[in-house]
Amino acid sequence: MKNNLQLLSGNEALALGAYHAGVRVATAYPGTPSTEILENMARFKDLYAEWSTNEKVAMEVAMGAAYTGTRAMVSMKHVGLNVASDPFMAASYTGIIGGLVIISADDPQIHSSQNEQDNRHYARLAKIPMLEPTDSQDAYELMHHAFNISEEFDTPVMLRSTTRISHSKSVVNVNRSRPAKNKPAAFYFNQQKFVMLPVYALPRHAIIEERIVKLAEYAEKFPLNRIIKGDSKLGIVASGIAYQYAREVFSEASFLKLAMTWPLPEKMIKNFAGSVERLIVVEELDPFLQQNIRAMGIEVIGKEFIPAVGELNTRIVAESSGIAGLLPDSEKDDILSPAEGLPRRPPLLCPGCPHTGIYFTLNTLGQRSKLVASKEPQEPKLVVTGDIGCYTLGTYPPLSALDTTACMGAGIGQALGMEKAGVKSKVVAIIGDSTFMHSGITGLVDAVYNDGHITIIILDNRTTAMTGHQEHPGTGISAQGQETSAVDIESLARGIGVKDIKVIDAFDTNALRESVKDSLDRPEVSVIIVRGACAMRVRKRENPRKVDVEKCTQCNYCLRLGCPAIQGTDDQVFIEPTLCAGDICGICEQICPQQAINI
C-alpha cells in the first residue's frame, strides 16, 4: 500500500488500529483521557460499540464477545480498571477465543482524575502482556500486534496509553485496512476453560504461569522492542512518552525502546546492558521497569533522579539528568520564571449550569461559606459527601459545597457511614446521573436496606457532561446514536424501596430549598432528583438577564452563585450578555434580594 499519512491523536490511532485489526465489539465507560477511543469506534458502522454502565460491565461484555471468537476491545481510564479489576483477573484465567484487548489510559499529572496510579502493575498482577506506544504511529501499529498476541497466546492483552499519548497528535502511516468479514460468532461448550470453579480455576492458574513464560520468550523477538545503537557510554531503557523525551534530551545515547513492557525480554535487556558503560531507565511514575530490571541482577538507576510524581517532559528529564551528572550543566541557563501575580483560570460550572442552583441552596442552608472562612476546623451543619463529575467543581468558592470526593459512587456509602458513626450533622450525598448509574445504585440499595436517614441528591442533567457529553443508561440513546430503552431513575429508586422521592426543577431555587429542608428532617432515606438539561446542550439562549443599576445596592449576593456570566470587575456588578444563558436559567433573578435582575 502507498503511504497514507494522517495526523492522528493517540486515541484516534488506537481506534483506527483496532478497526483495521477487525474488532467487532467495542465497549467502554467514558473517562479522560480514554473517552475518544470509543467515540471513534462508534462512528464505524460495521461493528458494535457501546457505552457500558461502568467499566466492570464494559469488561464483561467484551469478554463475552471474545468467548465467541469475535475480536473485542474495552477501553477505560486508569481508575476504571480498579472498577473492572474483578472480571479483568478472571479474563486472564479463562483466556479468550477471539482477541481481547484492554486499553488503560493512565493520567500522570492528574490532569483530570483523582490519582495518578501506574497501571503497568496490573499487567504483572494478572500475568498478561502489556504494550505501550510512544506516539500515534506506535499506537496504530501495536493494535495490530495486540490482537495477534492475544489469539496466539490465548490471553487478554493490555495496552497502556497515557494522557500525553492519547491527547497528542502525530503522523501515522495508515497502511492497513479492514479485513473482510470473519467467521460468524459461535460459542462452544468448554466448562474447564470458562467456568472458574475451584476445580477448573487451579489448573487454569498453571496454564497462565506457562503462558507468561512463553510470552517472555516471545518478547525477545517482538519486532517493536528495538535497540537503537548510539554512543556506548550511556544506555537508556525507555517506553511510552518518556522514550520521546529521553531521545530528545540524549540525542547521542544508545536506546532500548520497549514497546512490550510486560513480560520483559530478559536476554535482550542483558545484552543491551552489557553493550553500554552505564544503564539508566527513564520512565514516568513508578520505577516499574527499573525494579524489574534490577530483579534480573542488572545494575541500573532511574528513579534516583527522575521524579516519580507527575508527568515528565524534556525539561524535567534534562534537569534531573544534569543533577545526576549525566548531562553537562549548561541546561540550566536561560530559564525564566512564569510571570507573577496572574489570576488563575480554573474550570468552572458554566452559565446556566443546572448544578448551580442546588449548590447555592446547600451553601446557604449549610452556611458553608463560614467553613471556608474559619481558621479552626469546623463541623459542618450539613455534611455534603460528593462524587465525581462536573459537579465536583462545586467544591471551589464561592459555592464551597463539597466535603468529600474519593472515587465514582463513593459519596452515598460515605454519607451512610457518617450517619451510622453518629455525626451530629445532617448528611447529604450528591451524585450525577451518569455516576449514579455507574456505581451509585448499589450504595442506594445499601442505605435503604440498612435503614439510613441520609438524603441523596441525584443531579439529572441527562448526560455525562464532564467527559464531553456521552450518553448513558438514563438518556436512552446508544453510543452509536440509536434510540434504546431509557432507565428511569425515579422508578428505579422506588423499586429499591425509597418512599420519599422528589423530582425538582434545577432552576427553581424555592423548590430546591423547600425540598432539601423537608428531606433532611425525615427519618428515612430521601432521594431528590434535580432535573435540568446541561447548559452546553441547550442551543436557545434568549433574554440574557440584566442588572438594573437603579435598584442594585451592590450587595454582591449574586456573585455567590459563581456564575461566570456575572462579573464584578468594577464597582457595579454586570451580566455579560454573550455568556448569560437567559431564560433557561434565571437563578440570579430569583435570588437577588433587591429584585434588581431582570430581562
Binding site: 495526523l7 502525530s170 503522523v171 496572574l342 489570576p343 483560570r345 468552572l348 464531553g468 461566570p564
Partner: protein, 199 residues
Amino acid sequence: MEKLDILVTGVGGQGVVLASDIIGEAALAAGYDVKKTDTLGMAQRGGSVVSNVRIGPEVRSPMIKDGEVGLLLAFEKLEAARWSNYLRPDAIAIINDYEQPPLSVSLGQGKYPTDGEITTALKRRTNRIYFVDGNRLARELGNVRTVNILMLGCLSVFTPLDADVWKKCISQRMSEKLRDINLTAFGKGREEMENVRIK
C-alpha cells in the same frame, strides 16, 4: 526550516484546539513532521486552554520545552502573559486584544493585569509583540466565532507554509455553511498582519 515550536492559547470555547489542529494539518500537508498536544484542564468551558504544535524534519516530544516557543498565538491577553516564560528570545507573539476576566477577578480576589503588565511580562523575552483587535474584526465580518481562524491568518504570515496550503486545510475542517466566512477571516488576518508589519 530547522524547527518551529508554536504555542496557541486562550480560554475554553475560543477554538484553540481547532486552530492548532489546522496548523498541524497544514504542516503535514507541506511535508513536515508534526506533533501537537492539547491541555484542556478539567472541564469543557471557561478554563485556560493551551496547545503545543511542533513542526520540523523530525519531532520527538509533543510538548515544547520552556524557552523554545518561536511563535505565540494568544486569543486572550491574560493567557498570553501566562506563557511568557515559554518564549525563546526574539519570539513572535500575536495577541488578540481581548480580555475575559476569570471568576477570581469578578469576585475581587484577583486583579486582571494591565496592558503594561502584559507587555512587560512578554518583553522579558521579545519585543516582537503584535496586538490584533481580533474580536472586533471577526464581528465586523459577521461572526465573532471566526476569531480563531482570523488569528490563524495573522500567524500564517510568519510561517514557511503557503497560503494555499492553509486555505485547503481550513476548508477541510469547516462545514459548508462556515467555510466561506472562515476563509474570509483567514484572509483578513493575513491582511491585518501585513499592515502591522508595514507600520
